[in-house]
């Protein structure tokens, strides 16, 4: 008997190699044709704290975390109490534990999960250079039926540079763990992979956002490190350089966004990435981008808030600041990727939109997408590129109107180097000729224009991911989309039709399009990961939602699971 999905936690304090083993497990599964997702649970410690690699494998694409863990393998139990709530178990789960590390902590044992002993440390100790994580990897591989060939390729890739001894030690460890687990018959063998079909990628959300920036045409990035956004910047640093772009480490977030505005003012598409605290610091300059009509993209990889909050864990609670955080009437773009792979499309689209509409675009990713790695079908190429409308007729000496009140609201831009286009871009309110003005008529005209260029643009079908039909609908966004999609599909598999609407274009709102997507719906469930139901209130403020509206909203750091959404949907039927 095989299973369609298996969820595994590799647990150990820093140095045990849980993350490495999890990474290798995911890579090996990808090699043999499975799909998968690996997220990480870590504390705020840099080294030596608790660490868990959370892996879900399946023959079909994985949208979110599993309902429960089927397998927990622990190299030690240090600090597991800190994140035990992130490790839901059932009586069907299996806890693999090293007897030398003591009893299974009560907080986990209480689940009634089956316990299996594996002398991990002893087995590793018998091997010169042996490591516990390789023994654990071998055991898990045997349990799920992962072919050895998949692991061999990973070992070669990961350890090739370290030489034969390291490879032999790893192989011996894997063999030892595998041999012990071979006879357990836990019933967790994964269904055979389907190797046919599209090329698959192994990518994290943060890497995907970086690639989206490149594909959109970004050539400049100013960066200030912050968890959990740093990997975007680290990925862009070498890769921007390879494509002729530049990344500069700035002194703070204020400088990061300001440098991006400067580069963009000079005509070079620019991006920065940050997390909540950094977004707070950037908001004044984002407003400058709105008023001066300077395009820029800010990827906000959300984490638990407010203040410094929970930096290593996920939440969707920057929605309010992203949409409403700027002072004055400051319409701008806010988009949210709906999956790890979609971080690519959505960031690329954001670059395109920011340039086309000459305004800042905030991409709301989050830790659950950004720092998770997935095996996905290679994302389709999107046509979206940075393409700023440049002025061609500059009208002669002193005649150019940078902020001309055009029908679309987009004014042809002149950038340095274009003779005749000299003007001063301004955060002060200004007249069409870019000169500062505090006149009521100029203020009204520019406010109208800046709003109109956003509301009159045709965003096409990309505004949301929509699937399914029926009278019940889940409306969601961001990384809550994965578990919501899985819940809707479960409902459908059991015979109840349901729809999923995952809104990618948060702002400007698309009332007519959502009304069409929800036509005939009698029950709406809003799903989001915030304490204050920010998304629900946002929807209520801007849309007419049909029928009876319910909300599933709770804060991080616990990920939203398909089971929870599914149960909520069942309670509504």
């Amino acid at each position: 008997m095989t299973v369609d999905s298996v969820t595994i936690a590799l647990v150990g304090s820093g140095g045990a190699g849980a993350m490495t083993a999890g990474q290798m497990l995911l890579d090996a599964a990808a090699n043999v044709g499975w799909y998968g997702l690996m997220s990480r649970s870590t504390g705020p410690q840099i080294r030596g704290g608790e660490a868990a690699a959370l892996v879900r494998l399946s023959p079909t694409p994985v949208h979110g975390p599993g309902d429960r863990f089927d397998i927990i393998i622990a190299f030690d139990w240090q600090n597991v109490e800190r994140f035990a709530a992130e490790l839901p178990l059932s009586e069907k789960s299996v806890i693999i534990t090293d007897p030398s590390q003591g009893e299974v902590p009560a907080v986990l044992a209480a689940s009634g999960a089956k316990q299996v002993e594996l002398p991990i440390k002893e087995l590793a100790g018998r091997i010169p250079g042996g490591r516990v994580n390789m023994v654990g990897l071998g055991a898990v591989a045997a349990i799920v039926g992962l072919p050895r060939a998949g692991i061999d390729a990973v070992i070669q890739k990961a350890l090739g540079k370290k030489g034969d001894a390291a490879i032999q030690a790893s192989n011996a460890g894997i063999d030892a763990g595998s041999k012990e687990a071979a006879g357990w018959n836990l019933g967790l063998e994964l269904a055979a992979p389907n190797k046919e079909g599209a090329t698959r990628w192994n990518i994290s959300g943060n890497e995907a956002a970086g690639l989206g920036a490149l594909k959109g045409g970004v050539k400049f990035c100013a960066a200030y490190p912050i968890t959990p956004a740093t990997e975007i910047l680290e990925w862009l640093a070498p890769n921007l350089a390879k494509t002729g772009g530049k990344l500069v480490q700035a002194e703070d977030e204020l400088a990061s966004i300001a440098m991006c505005l400067g580069a963009s003012f000079s005509g070079v598409p620019s991006i920065t990435a940050t997390a909540g605290p950094g977004l707070s610091l950037m908001t004044e300059c984002i407003g400058l981008g709105v008023a001066s009509e300077t395009p820029v993209v800010i990827v906000d990889v959300q984490r638990g808030g407010p203040s410094t909050g929970i930096p290593t864990k996920s939440e969707q609670s920057d929605l309010n600041i992203a949409v409403y955080g700027l002072h004055g009437d400051a319409p701008h773009l806010v988009v949210g990727p709906t999956s790890i792979g979609d971080c690519l499309f959505t960031t690329q689209w954001a670059v395109h939109l920011a340039e086309a509409l000459q305004t800042p675009a905030i991409v709301l990713s989050d830790q659950a997408m950004g720092q998770s790695r997935a095996i996905v079908d290679k994302p389709a190429d999107a046509p979206h590129k940075a393409n700023r409308l440049l002025a061609t007729d500059l009208g002669g000496e002193g005649k150019y109107k940078r902020y001309a009140d055009t029908e679309s609201g987009v004014s042809p831009a002149a950038i340095p180097g274009m003779p005749g286009g000299e003007h001063t871009a301004d955060g002060l309110e200004h007249a069409e000729n870019a000169l500062p003005s505090s006149q009521a008529s100029d203020h009204q005209k520019q406010l109208d224009k800046r709003l109109r260029k956003l509301t009159s643009h045709d965003y096409g079908d990309a505004w949301a991911d929509i699937e399914g039909e029926g009278e019940i609908a889940v409306v969601t966004w961001g990384s809550a989309t994965g578990p919501s999609r899985e819940a809707v599909r479960r409902l459908e598999a059991a015979g109840t039709k349901a729809r999923l609407v995952a809104i990618r274009l948060i702002s400007p709102v698309q009332p007519a399009k959502l009304a069409a997507a929800l036509d005939g719906v009698s029950k709406v469930l809003v799903v989001e990961q915030t304490h204050g139901a920010q998304f629900h209130k946002f929807l209520r403020g801007h849309y007419d939602l049909p029928g009876k509206v319910s909300v599933f909203s709770r804060p991080g750091p616990l990920p939203i699971r398909a089971r929870e959404v599914h149960e909520t949907l069942l309670s509504l039927i």
């Binding site: 090329t199 698959r200 990628w201 192994n202 990518i203 890497e207 690639l211 490149l214 594909k215 050539k219 400049f220 890769n239 350089a241 390879k242 494509t243 002729g244 772009g245 530049k246 990344l247 500069v248 700035a250 002194e251 703070d252 204020l254 400088a255 300001a258 440098m259 991006c260 505005l261 400067g262 580069a263 963009s264 003012f265 000079s266 005509g267 070079v268 620019s270 004044e284 300059c285 407003g287 400058l288 001066s292 095996i375 290679k378 002193g398 340095p416 180097g417 274009m418 003779p419 005749g420 286009g421 000299e422 003007h423 001063t424 871009a425 301004d426 955060g427 002060l428 000169l435 500062p436």
Partner: protein, 280 residues
């Protein structure tokens, strides 16, 4: 000096770099003369207007971009150096100048000033120091004396020592540091020309009186004096001289030889090649 700072040379004239916008400054403001010095410097160098970008923050002197006829970016309080760094790093071929005041540059923008000095991007910062916030009607700035009691916000005086911009610039590693006085636009222009020509980040500190909130600054005419030494390329020597000076010495303190910061950008890979790294 091989520069020609009169209005009758062949080539562009200072007026070519002025816009027809009337400054909002008070009568007698020192910034009028600085603006004259700036346009003379631009004319002297024959800068292409379309290849020149001026960036400013917020405050009286930060209004200057609107009064010039080159490309400008009037940004937000304190961020002008960061915005300008973005311009120059992204488009190294452009001439980049930054205008601002003492509050904008050394208070809210203090962190950016520190890092602009150490980063050494090839651009020129002209900071007009009147030791007061004029735009918000007369509060103490970071260069105001500790016992200045004329502000309603600090009626007993700010109570803290003023910073010394030239010493600060040197301490932060600026590559070219000079001081001028607005009353002499030709000298201001000469300093700007030297600063622009010098590779790396140049700081031109200009004493520019606010006769509205600090009328006693009219007396600066008799306070300023030539600094009296030739420019050095040794930051330590420059610092010793600055510390011996009374803060009113005019001239070029340092013309250093640090290499400007400018990351290269030659494409070596296609995006398709980069994408291949993700394939399973």
């Amino acid at each position: 000096m091989d520069t020609h700072l009169t209005d009758d040379v062949v080539g562009p004239l200072p007026g070519d770099y002025k816009s027809d916008v009337k400054p909002i400054w008070c009568p007698g403001c020192g910034d009028y003369s600085v603006l004259a010095g700036i346009t003379r410097a631009m004319a002297n160098m024959g800068l292409e207007r379309h290849d020149t970008v001026v960036v400013s923050g917020i405050g009286c002197s930060s209004r200057i971009p609107a009064y010039t006829s080159v490309y400008g970016y009037h940004t937000v309080h304190g961020r002008s150096l960061a915005v300008a760094s973005g311009v120059k790093l992204a488009r190294p071929e452009l001439n980049v100048l930054i205008f601002g005041g003492d509050g904008d540059g050394f208070s809210i923008g203090g962190n950016h000033f520190l890092h602009a000095c150490r980063r050494n991007v090839d651009m020129t910062y002209i900071v007009m120091d009147n030791q007061v916030y004029g735009m918000t009607k007369g509060q103490a700035s970071p260069t105001t004396e500790a016992d200045w009691c004329e502000s309603k916000l600090t009626p007993e005086g700010p109570g803290v020592n003023p910073i010394q911009p030239v010493a600060l610039a040197l301490a932060c590693g600026a590559n070219f540091v000079a001081r001028g006085f607005s009353n002499n636009p030709n000298e201001v222009a000469r300093l700007i020309v030297e600063g622009v020509k010098h590779p790396g980040f140049s700081v031109i500190h200009i004493l520019s009186p606010c006769v509205t909130f600090r009328p006693e600054q009219r007396g600066w005419k008799s306070t300023v004096h030539p600094y009296g030494r030739e420019p050095t390329d040794d930051p330590n020597e420059a610092m010793r001289a600055v510390l011996e000076d009374d803060g009113f010495g005019l001239g070029i303190f340092l013309a250093g030889n640090r290499r400007p910061f400018q990351p290269g950008s030659t494409a070596t890979h296609s995006i398709a090649q980069i994408e291949e790294g993700f394939a399973v």
